[in-house]
Subunit: 428 residues, 2 copies
């Protein structure tokens, strides 16, 4: 097969420019590995004249990504614009409708429109691939959908937002408050234009929803991810956790239980010397568990030009080699609509709150916990000079339902000066 595979690249930001560089600089290597030349025919971006450190003058230019997607001389739309809707979705739909393959790094688009796009791709006999959408350079979609295809997957978990992990590890290492490190991250360009996508756990939630769909053969259901961001984590939480032997990580977990599919993305305490606990900065880690393979752990850079472009190129080379498989591992029509379930597995929880400095305040909180059947492992009221007293509680293992009952009852107490932050302690 010596017909070239012709790419149309929509979006020439960091990742798009990275893909152009690889295609230009590694033509021989890619042709040898792909079994045919990989070329770029046309590109599209917001501004034609911006300096991207790469020469795009040899490629046809399209102002409109939809026009790019449907060009006769484009076999694969490489969608690197981002955004769940708008031009990214329009171009992807147009490409699939025209029977062209799509490679994208767009987690938001797939989290919201994955099912419809998968159906469109499969109806057209086109590939729709998105390795770069989850965990940057780590080939986790490939590992899950292909490498572990002989397994019933039991659980998927991971740290999949490098910005949150940067913020949390930097708070830990530099002893800085959340606000300062957030500002640092903003200046370094680590944050999305809408920072809540990162620190609200939304971006990581998108990724978890995509992995869950593949793992359990279910329709992508981002709306069912129980989301908590890292915005309420304080330097005191980081210090308390450290003191208890833990690190705080924005951790995603998806598992199929008798009651349905659990999906959650929330800050958790993990043992500081565990692989997850040792994860620093922008590095991602994904844990895949299957009935045959037990546990596979994958670690690597979660973002950046090279790693993300590497994931995009892996998909492109697969397409060039002729690999075809259903978008989420099984035909879109066979993906089931899973009941979504709240977290059932019990765990200890870390609670931090502020109480009014009144006699009996602590007793009221302890009573509420006791009434919900939650026993206390440790409780500590730290020294204070204000009118409110910071209180730290570590519970024994309890269910999320019992905890929610206690948290609801606490909001009615007149002694709660600041509503509790509750973080799950993951020990396995």
């Amino acid at each position: 097969m010596t017909t070239p595979l012709r790419l149309g690249i929509a979006g020439l930001g960091t990742v798009g420019a990275g893909v152009v560089k690889i295609v230009r600089q590694k033509a021989n290597l890619l042709a040898d590995r792909a079994g045919r030349p990989v070329t770029i025919t046309a590109v599209s971006a917001r501004s034609r004249d911006k300096d991207r450190g790469v020469n795009i003058s040899a490629y046809a230019w399209e102002d409109d990504p939809v026009a790019l997607a449907t060009r006769d001389d484009v076999d694969v739309l490489v969608e690197l614009m981002g955004g769940s809707d708008g031009p990214a979705k329009a171009a992807t739909e147009a490409a699939l409708a025209a029977g062209k393959h799509v490679v994208t790094a767009n987690k938001a688009m797939l989290a919201y429109h994955g099912q419809a796009l998968a159906e469109a791709a499969e109806a057209a006999g086109a590939a729709l691939r998105f390795e770069a959408a989850v965990a940057g350079g780590i080939p986790v979609i490939k590992a899950l959908a292909e490498g572990l295809a002989g397994n019933d997957i039991t659980r998927v978990m991971g740290v999949m937002n490098g910005t949150c992990n940067y913020i949390l590890t930097r708070m830990q290492s530099a002893g800085l408050p959340y606000e300062d490190v957030f500002e640092e991250a903003r200046k370094l360009g680590y944050l999305e234009a809408d920072p809540s996508l990162d620190v609200g756990g939304i971006d990581a939630g998108h990724k978890l929803a995509l992995l869950a769909a593949i793992a359990f053969g279910t329709r992508v259901n981002f709306g069912a991810v129980a989301l908590e961001g890292i915005e309420r984590i304080t330097i005191d939480d980081i210090r308390h956790a450290d003191h208890l032997g833990y690190r705080i990580k924005l951790l995603g977990v998806a598992q199929m239980t008798g009651r349905g599919l659990e999906q959650r993305m929330s800050p958790c305490l993990v043992p500081k010397h565990s692989p997850l606990g040792q994860l620093e900065g922008g590095t991602n880690m994904v844990v895949l568990e299957g009935d045959q393979v037990e546990q596979i752990v994958l670690r690597g850079p979660g973002a950046g030009e090279g790693p993300t472009a590497s994931a995009v190129m892996g998909d492109i080379i697969d397409i060039a080699r002729g690999a075809r498989m259903p978008v989420f591992g099984v035909p879109a029509a066979d993906l089931t609509q899973a009941t979504s379930a709240r977290t059932t597995a019990p765990a200890p929880y870390y609670l931090r709150m502020a109480l009014e400095d009144k006699p009996g305040a602590l007793a009221k909180v302890a009573t509420v916990l006791g009434d919900a059947g939650i026993s206390i492992d440790r409780m500590r009221q730290t020294r204070h000079e204000a009118r409110t007293a910071p209180v730290l509680i570590v519970t024994h293992s309890t269910t999320r339902a019992a905890l929610d009952e206690a948290l609801a009852a606490m909001t009615g107490l007149d002694v709660i000066a600041q509503p509790p932050v509750a973080l799950r302690i993951e020990t396995a």
Copy 2:
């Protein structure tokens, strides 16, 4: 595509029985993921009547694996007999000659005959896949040959023999001498029939040679792997290393340098809190480094029924889905014959030896090191009651060439009671 993919399974040991179980128990899941039913037509093994915990009466029986491989009703030979030559090689060659695909877990066969078999497979247009041959359940071949196909790979390293890692971690945790743990491992069935395959580093060397071929587009060259086993590691080495902040691991490294391809598999000291240092028991870890992706680390079970069968099934499902690619990532004819190079990157080394209890003994050793341009970081002569004195030296960073010069000169010294054990200290 609803034509079933029909398997002929040669070898019904632990892994073969595991594959049969998966195909029987997950028929619907596999069909959904593969896009067509996956069935078993025929099987072959040494003994027909052995109880394997799985019912094979529904499958045709062949005494001769070559006959199995060439049956009209077999599309894929699943070769799980093992052994570099003999029936495994005969059946594989026969299957490929008949245009049938082959999935194998046989690292030895590929380490010795990889090039010829790859040429045969490609000439026949058949797939030859071997995910299960390297690092058990970890989909490392897939990650390297497919996921990272857009990278120039710079280095591959890993701990890939679970038995050696079991022995080394057990010596550490239980404080037992090598011989006792070796005996334990033998009783537990962890050792190959010829234990030197494990403890001599040969099995791990086979795996490294396969990864190096894919990583660097070179012909498999197991003969060029600088092999050292773990047989000379003593409980004192384990203790000294611990004291210095290290663990001893049988570590493989392959990298392309200006002088050629370096491949080595040898016991090394790695920092005890590093991911490699923390690796326990039968778990494997592989580190893949590429110019785009920086570093990807994969961890998982390196052996056992479920994990190995998982890897075999991943290959089978890929074949069912129609995935075809060159055996070592690029066409066999394009694989280059790399010059093999000795290790060039300098590193500190750990040396342990026994000296005759004579005046000036230590000075002679220090002089030899100095003459080779090697400076000493630490040197310790431990207390002893015998006529010989155990001596421990940690050098500053030096080249392997300088070290070899010093080691050669030491053998000529009249004060060396026991030739030195030299272990590289890997800090990155």
